[in-house]
C-alpha cells in the first residue's frame, strides 16, 4: 500500500489489495464485520464530505465513515427497526422508500450517493440513477455480478436459474427483479451518458465480509462490481478531483 493512499483511506491506486483494514481508527472489530464491498466503498470516500447512503441497513457504513473520516452522512432505510437502530446510534436516517425519498433533496446536496446492493431491486434504474446524479455529484453503485462463473455453470449444465450466496433466492421468491452483469451495466451507463470515474470488481467469501479485488477476468470471477460514476461532462469541482485514473481497472476479460 502506498502512504498517500493510506493517508486518504483509499484502496491502493491500482486496487490490488484489501482496503485499509488495519488502518481503521475506530471500532476495528465492527469495521472488519462490515461487508467487504462497503469497505471498498468506504475507502473511496474522501474525508469530511457529505454522503447519502441508500438502503443503509443498520448504519454500519455511515457509522464507520463518521468515526474514521468525519463524513457528514445521511441514510435512507425502508425497515422501521433498522432505521430506528440507526437513529439510536446518533445517525441521521430517514425511514422510507429510496425512490421517493431521494426526490426532495436540492441539487448537489451530497458529494457521494451510495447505492450498495440495491440496484438489482430497483424498478426504474435509469430514472433513479439520473436523479441520484442530480442530488449527488457522484454516485457509487455496487451490485452482484450475475455473470460470475458459478452462475454461468448452473445455467449451462443444470439448466437452472442461478442461486448463489450473493443471489440466494429462487425465481419465485426473489426481490431481485433486475439481472445485472458487469458488462451490461457498463453498456447501460454508456447509453445514459454516465461516465465511470473508478471501478473495482471484487470476489467475496465468508458471508461477504472478506474478499479480494480482482484484476483480470472480472466478468467471470467477480461476485460484485463497484463503480464510481458521474454525469458525462461534469466539471471536476471538489468531490473526486484526485481520484485515481478510471482506466486503472478497465475490464477486458469479459
Amino acid at each position: 500500500m502506498e502512504t498517500t493512499a493510506q493517508q486518504y483511506g483509499y484502496a491502493t491506486r491500482r486496487d490490488t489489495g484489501s482496503p485499509e483494514v488495519s488502518k481503521d481508527a475506530a471500532g476495528t472489530s465492527r469495521y472488519q464485520l462490515m461487508r467487504f464491498d462497503l469497505r471498498v466503498i468506504a475507502s473511496w470516500i474522501r474525508p469530511g464530505c457529505r454522503v447519502l447512503d441508500l438502503g443503509c441497513g443498520n448504519g454500519d457504513l455511515l457509522d464507520h465513515l463518521r468515526k474514521s473520516k468525519a463524513v457528514h452522512g445521511t441514510g435512507i432505510e425502508l425497515d422501521e427497526k433498522k432505521a430506528a437502530a440507526c437513529i439510536a446510534r446518533g445517525l441521521s436516517v430517514l425511514q422510507g422508500d429510496i425512490n421517493t425519498e431521494v426526490r426532495d433533496y436540492p441539487t448537489d446536496s451530497f458529494d457521494y450517493v451510495i447505492l450498495s446492493q440495491t440496484l438489482q431491486q430497483v424498478r426504474d434504474p435509469e430514472t433513479l440513477l439520473t436523479h441520484l446524479l442530480t442530488v449527488g455529484r457522484r454516485v457509487i453503485v455496487s451490485f452482484p455480478n450475475f455473470s460470475h462463473w458459478r452462475n454461468r455453470l448452473q445455467l449451462l449444465f443444470l439448466g437452472r436459474a442461478p442461486v448463489s450466496r450473493q443471489l440466494p433466492y429462487e425465481w419465485y421468491d426473489t426481490p431481485n427483479i433486475r439481472v445485472i452483469t458487469l458488462t451490461d451495466f457498463k453498456r447501460f451507463l454508456h447509453r445514459i451518458h454516465v461516465t465511470i470515474v473508478r471501478q473495482a470488481a471484487i470476489n467475496t467469501h465468508h458471508h461477504d465480509e472478506e474478499g479480494n479485488i480482482i484484476r483480470w477476468g472480472a466478468g467471470w470471477r467477480a461476485t460484485y462490481g463497484i463503480l464510481l460514476i458521474e454525469k458525462r461532462g461534469s466539471d471536476d469541482r471538489g468531490a473526486g478531483s484526485k481520484e485515481p485514473a478510471a482506466a486503472a481497472l478497465s475490464q477486458k476479460g469479459n
Partner: protein
C-alpha cells in the same frame, strides 16, 4: 406507586408584564400580567448548553415527570421518558416544561382573574395562538438565563410548539423533536375539535363562558373529552382493550341507555375525570389555537433560512389517524428541501395518537440516541 418516587419536582411560577406593557398577541390584543407555570428537572451546566424544553399537548401541564411529594400518587405525564437514567436523562440535561398560555394548570388563561374587572376573564380572554404560547415560553427562558436550547421536544399540540419554535426562533434551537404532530390541522381534525367545542357551548351551564361563580359546564366538557379521547385511540387498540365486552357479567343487554358496553363506561369515566381537572373555556381556546396553527410549507411556514441549521428528528406512529404519517412525511420533505439535517421514523404502534405518551422502548432508544448524537458532535 407504593415506593417513593426518586424524583421530586416543584411547580414554579414566572410572571411578566402588567396591564400596560403586557404581551401583544397575534390577535392584536394586549395581555398582562402573564403568569407561566413551569417545572425544571436536572441542573443547568455552567456553559448553559444542556437545556431541553419539553412542550406538552393540548390538555397537559408542566408536570412532565417526578412527583411533588410523598403523598403524590401520580407521577408526571411523561415519567417513562424523563428522569434519571431515562431516555431524556435528567442527570445530564436541564429539562424545562411549562404550562401553555390559555391553559388552566397554573398559567394565565380564561379562568385567571382579569385585572381590569377583578373577575375571571371567561370569554374576555383574548384568543391566543401557538405562536403566542411560544413567545411566552421564550420570555420564561430569558428569565431562566438560557441562551439557546439543546432541543425542543413535544408531541401533538406540543409538536406544533416545537415547529413554531423552529419557525420563530430558529437560532435559539439546536435540535427539534416533533412527535405525532402536523404542520396544520386537517379538516377532519378541525371537525373533531369543533364538535368538542359545540358540546361545551351547548351545555346550559356554560353561560357564554361566564360560569366561574356557579356550577361548571361539566356535562359538555365531559362530552368534549369523550370525543377527543376517541381520536387519541385507534380501532385496533379499542378492539383489543374493549371489544364488545359488556359491563354486565351475565352477558345480557340492559335494554336501556344506562350503558352496556365497557367502552361506554370507559369514555364516561374519562369524561368525568377530566372535568375535575380541566377548565371548559381553556379547552375552547386551546383547540382553537390548534386549528389556527398553520406552518404548511406551501404557505411559507418554514421559510426562515436559519431553520436549515436545526437538526430534526420527526416521529410518527402507524396507528395515529388524528395526525397520520403522511402529514409527518410532508414536514420531512419540506425540511429536506430547506437543507435541514432530518431523521424520520414511523414507529409501529397500535395505540393511535396516544402512542407517543405511552412507554415505548423504540421511541426511548431513538430519542436517547438522537440527543446523545447532538452532544458528541460538538
Amino acid at each position: 406507586m407504593g415506593t417513593t418516587h426518586p424524583l421530586r419536582v416543584q411547580k414554579k411560577f414566572f410572571t411578566f408584564g402588567d396591564l400596560r406593557d403586557g404581551m401583544v398577541l397575534d390577535c392584536g390584543a394586549r395581555l398582562g400580567p402573564v403568569t407561566i407555570a413551569y417545572e425544571t428537572l436536572g441542573n443547568l451546566r455552567a456553559e448553559r448548553n444542556n437545556a431541553l424544553l419539553i412542550l406538552h399537548a393540548c390538555t397537559g401541564d408542566s408536570h412532565v415527570a417526578g412527583v411533588y411529594d410523598d403523598a403524590d400518587e401520580r407521577p408526571g405525564w411523561w415519567d417513562a421518558m424523563v428522569g434519571p437514567g431515562k431516555p431524556i436523562d435528567t442527570r445530564r440535561y436541564f429539562v424545562i416544561c411549562s404550562n401553555i398560555l390559555g391553559s388552566c394548570m397554573g398559567s394565565t388563561g380564561p379562568s385567571s382573574i382579569n385585572p381590569a374587572t377583578g373577575k375571571p376573564y371567561g370569554l374576555d380572554f383574548p384568543m391566543v395562538t401557538i405562536r403566542d404560547m411560544v413567545r411566552a415560553q421564550r420570555r420564561l427562558l430569558e428569565h431562566l438565563g438560557i441562551p439557546r436550547l439543546l432541543a425542543a421536544i413535544g408531541g401533538s399540540v406540543g409538536g406544533m410548539q416545537v415547529l413554531q419554535w423552529c419557525a420563530t426562533y430558529p437560532e435559539l434551537v439546536k435540535a427539534a423533536i416533533p412527535l405525532a404532530t402536523t404542520t396544520r390541522h386537517s379538516a377532519q381534525a378541525i371537525a373533531f375539535n369543533e364538535v368538542a367545542r359545540q358540546a361545551i357551548m351547548a351545555d346550559p351551564l356554560w353561560r357564554g363562558g361566564d360560569y366561574y361563580q356557579g356550577e361548571k359546564p361539566g356535562l359538555g366538557l365531559a362530552l368534549a373529552r369523550m370525543i377527543g379521547h376517541v381520536t387519541y385511540l385507534s380501532d385496533e387498540s379499542m378492539r383489543e382493550k374493549f371489544g364488545r365486552r359488556l359491563l354486565n357479567e351475565g352477558g345480557c343487554f340492559s335494554f336501556d341507555f344506562a350503558g352496556d358496553f365497557q367502552v361506554e363506561s370507559y369514555l364516561r369515566y374519562q369524561g368525568k375525570k377530566f372535568v375535575e381537572r380541566f377548565d371548559a373555556n381553556s379547552l375552547l381556546y386551546i383547540t382553537k389555537a390548534g386549528d389556527y396553527f398553520d406552518l404548511a410549507p406551501e404557505n411559507g411556514g418554514l421559510d426562515n433560512p436559519a431553520i436549515s441549521g436545526i437538526r430534526f428528528l420527526v416521529i410518527s406512529f402507524t396507528s395515529d389517524w388524528l395526525y397520520p404519517t403522511y402529514q409527518s412525511r410532508e414536514l420531512v420533505s419540506a425540511l429536506k428541501k430547506r437543507g435541514c439535517d432530518v431523521s424520520f421514523c414511523e414507529i409501529e404502534a397500535r395505540w393511535g395518537h396516544d402512542a407517543f405518551l405511552l412507554p415505548n422502548a423504540r421511541l426511548g432508544d431513538i430519542i436517547r440516541g438522537f440527543l446523545d448524537g447532538l452532544e458528541t458532535e460538538e
